[in-house]
Amino acid sequence: MNNELIELIKSNVVKGRRTCDDEGIDETPSGAPGVTELTREALEQKIPLEEILNKGLADGLDIVGRKFESGEYFIPDMLIAAEAVSAAMKVLSPQLIKEGRESKGKILIATVEGDQHDIGKNLVATMMRGAGFEVIDLGVDVKAEKIIEAVKSNNPGILGLSALLTTTMQKMKETIDLLEKNNLRSKVKVIIGGAPTSTQFAKQIGADAHCKDAFIGVETVKALFS
């Protein structure tokens, strides 16, 4: 029974069905319970949180990521699935607090100074939250000094920087240099993303990793936190 319920949570994450009213990505007729109702039921049945989080939600998002990589799913589909996970997290939240569980890791994310682009960064933040990480989003056009202050006060394990312009991507290097100056570089891993960036550029500016899309971003933070 437990397994069946977990499997249903997983498959409904893949379909992106938050509640019984949702049709989901594959346009399943509404009526059957969605992730919210299923997660409630799992809690009532005292299924361990660990199992719901890992085998239901995280494994579901994993399938979504693979479907994205293979070209079956597209960016909006990933977001739809991530929203379903967020809906489950809302249900689980009181229990998570009660059991004193921490997130899988803290990530600070920002679009660098001079750059107003936020859709890609928001997508990455949503996916990472969906995967169980705590994400602090500093927004767009964020000065290096402000990022350094936020690193000091929040102590994240990972800093994610986004830039969409060849002109503003240089600010990523400035931010990393300022981390060095403040003796913070060894305390936080830096990952970068955005259309003009590349693995080579990440190496050049001293970042730990380049993420070509939101899915790779989630995989990268999982690997860096493990």
Partner: protein, 234 residues
């Protein structure tokens, strides 16, 4: 310099283009939730999208190298732009925007956790800005066609080898704030769903023979890559 402002420009916003901008490979891939969301937003388009364009005609002068002189006073530099404007004695400078309302809703939706709808509305904004530029070009094309002239494709600061910093020349000559567009210190426009640029005016027979500069460009994966010839005929 005769500076003009246009406000009533009809837009042709197509769902298939919105879906592509939202990340789908084509229009057959989206689910009903997405299609309904697009439909809902489009019924509110009048409230969310307020188009405005400020533009002026300028004289172009030739200087050696990759530079172009505007109104005998300002110099812009780009090899590809110079090739595009080759044979043009004048040009239109323009700043166009769909206004700030849509963007403010995009941010609000994101803050409230509606990331899917936020992405869709942002894609509608991008499509509207592109459609606005195209409609505006069609208006200009009709205007100059009667004089036996034609226009080039629009070219924006930041395209190819044209330094985005030269955005400041455009904003010096055209007061963007008159249509609610500001330039940031990093030369980006606010509202973001705005387009600025230059459009050359030349003899129809000369411009008709020109290929798009994209055809010569090696950046195959460039998101702004245009294929074929541009046509602004209505």
């Amino acid at each position: 310099m005769d500076i003009r402002i246009l406000k009533n420009i009809p837009l042709k916003i197509e769902s298939k283009n919105i879906l592509k901008k939202a990340g789908y490979a084509d229009e057959t891939q989206s689910s009903r939730r997405i299609n309904q969301s697009i439909e809902n937003f489009l019924t509110k388009a009048d409230k969310l999208i307020k188009v405005k364009v400020i533009y002026a005609k300028v004289d172009l002068g030739d200087i050696s190298g990759n530079r172009i002189k505007i109104n005998d006073k300002f110099v812009i530099a780009s090899k590809i732009l110079k090739e595009t404007l080759d044979g043009c004695k004048s040009a239109f400078l323009f700043i166009a925007t769909i206004g700030a309302e849509l963007e403010s809703d995009v941010s609000k939706l994101m803050r409230e956790g509606h990331s899917v709808e936020s992405l869709i509305l942002d894609a509608i904004g991008s499509e509207a800005a592109e459609s606005l530029t195209h409609s505006f070009c069609r208006t200009l094309s009709d205007e100059v066609n009667s004089q036996g002239l034609a226009i080039t494709q629009p070219f924006s600061p930041g395209y190819c080898d044209w330094d985005i910093e030269e955005q400041k020349i455009l904003f010096f000559l055209l007061d963007g704030e008159k249509i609610g567009v500001k330039l940031t210190d990093s030369f980006m426009m606010i509202p973001r769903k705005s387009v600025s640029g230059i459009i050359g005016i030349g003899q129809s027979d000369l411009l008709g023979k020109k290929d798009l500069p994209c055809l010569k460009c090696a950046k195959e994966k460039c998101s702004g890559r245009r294929r074929g010839k541009l046509s602004f005929t209505s």
